[in-house]
């Protein structure tokens, strides 16, 4: 039940409100996940604090080799940003594949992470960009690796009154990046898998590689066994199948066996091969 709604005019005012109204305070940005929860009766007593228009959450800049991306940027804004197209290609590709245009126009990357769905599209992308998360509350601020924030399905480890204000990404200019997924619509979420990949080739060998799987484990995560299997190699297609299999094993060992495991193992393996195939020819 929503008991109240406020629209603070600045970030400081928002943080002060969140502190004062805890534990009932609930930030709302694009609302595309929150309104579904509201409709399905999953929200308790709450007071909504509307952060969707705060300019402070729309930072977008490159500074000392890092890319600062405001949590309040919508998927459409991320998709259109020239800076991000150049320096954060996987985040751009993931954002362009979120839901529908209507959802991309209002949904934000901060909201996507805070909602922490196992199938959140931008989380695997942010993981391969090695994102750190800047959090603020009325008591101050802290910065953590994105992994440390992912507590479980729909459980981001935010302290009461805390807001994600921005993500700090490693500069991925001149790197090859891809984001692909299986199953597009939300009602197919169970069958859905997504893979984010970021790589750099050096003299035909894979010099750097970051892979993160979405919807295969309770929270999206880096797939280091597959990364290690390919690093330093001039991969052939067979190497990709091997890496895909390792990734599937890692997924199952984290999630435990499920009714869907049999399908998901094969799907994860195929997804990796399909995603990384272009890397065999180009991607220098």
């Amino acid at each position: 039940m929503v008991r109240g709604y406020s629209r603070p005019r600045s970030l400081d005012e928002a943080l002060e409100m969140l502190a004062r109204l805890t534990p009932r305070a609930l930030p709302i940005a694009g609302g595309t996940d929150l309104l579904v929860d509201l409709r399905e009766g999953r929200l308790g007593e709450c007071h909504l604090v509307d952060i969707s228009r705060l300019e402070e959450l729309k930072v977008l800049e490159k500074r000392s080799g890092k890319i600062r991306v405001g949590a309040g940027l919508t998927f459409s804004e991320v998709e259109r940003s020239g800076l991000l197209r150049e320096c954060a290609p996987v985040l751009v590709k993931a954002s362009s594949q979120v839901g529908s245009l209507q959802i991309r126009n209002v949904g934000t990357i901060g909201g996507n992470v805070a909602h922490c769905s196992p199938a959140a599209d931008t989380i695997p992308a942010l993981l391969v960009h090695r994102a750190r998360v800047v959090l603020r509350s009325s008591n101050g601020s802290r910065e953590v690796a994105l992994e440390a924030l992912l507590g479980g399905p729909y459980k981001a480890l935010l302290a009461p009154g805390e807001l994600i204000t921005e993500f700090v990404l490693e500069d991925a200019s001149h790197m090859w990046g891809e984001f692909s997924k299986i199953g597009r619509r939300r009602e197919l979420a169970i069958a859905r898998l997504s893979l984010a990949a970021l790589a750099r080739k050096e003299d035909g060998r894979i010099g750097e590689l970051y892979l993160a799987l979405g919807a295969g484990t309770p929270v999206p995560r880096r797939m280091e066994s597959a990364e290690r299997a390919l690093l330093g190699k001039r991969p052939q297609e067979g190497d990709l199948w091997e890496a895909g299999w390792l990734m599937a094993q890692e997924m199952v060992s984290v999630s435990g066996p499920r009714p869907s495991t049999h399908y998901k193992e094969k799907a994860a393996c195929g997804l990796l091969v399909r995603t990384l195939l272009p890397l065999l020819e180009d991607g220098s």
């Binding site: 008991r3 709604y5 629209r7 309104l35 245009l101 126009n105």
Partner: protein, 166 residues
């Protein structure tokens, strides 16, 4: 009677200033359709899957079922009722009729508004751009081809003529 506080909002709706008092958890869809009587704003799924509730807010297509009424404050809002002008149907509406892009009509207002937002931002879009912009609008009847044809045709007719509407 009501334990929740009401919020006063004002926004431009189809070119006119309106004021409303809304509940904190009320959706834009509920306000527009049930309380302001704009029956062109349809509810299909209520969870952002079908696009029947699409409206244009500050020149962007959004799902009104996923937006709070309170979030409309200060915005410029267009529903299908605002598309028609005193001189007649909008070129998009004409094109939908001519191309048989309407069967049951349930998806039509949302389709028109998604197409409108696309055309005002892109001018004459490619077929691919149209398909992508309408991907969040489901149609159970037409099979989409006629709709894409209609949008392309309307965009050509509208080229350069939409100044001043916003």
């Amino acid at each position: 009677m009501n334990p929740e506080e009401k919020i006063r909002i004002s926004f431009r709706l189809n070119g006119r200033e309106v004021e409303a008092h809304v509940l904190p958890g009320e959706t834009a869809l509920h306000l527009l359709r049930e309380r302001l009587g704009l029956r062109g704003v349809k509810e299909g799924c209520g969870i952002g899957e079908c696009g029947a509730c699409t409206i244009v807010v500050d020149k962007k297509a959004v799902n009104s079922c996923l937006m709070l009424a309170a979030q409309l404050h200060g915005c410029e809002v267009l529903t299908v009722e605002g598309l028609e002008s005193p001189v007649g149907l909008h070129p998009l509406q004409e094109a939908f009729l001519e191309h048989d892009a309407i069967q049951c009509g349930y998806c039509t207002p949302g389709m028109l508004l998604s197409a409108y937002a696309l055309i005002i931002s892109r001018g004459v879009p490619t077929r691919e751009e149209i398909v992508r912009a309408l991907a969040g609008n489901l149609c159970r009847c037409t099979g989409y081809h006629q709709i894409v044809d209609a949008v392309q045709d309307a965009a050509r007719r509208m080229a350069g003529k939409e100044e001043g509407r916003w």
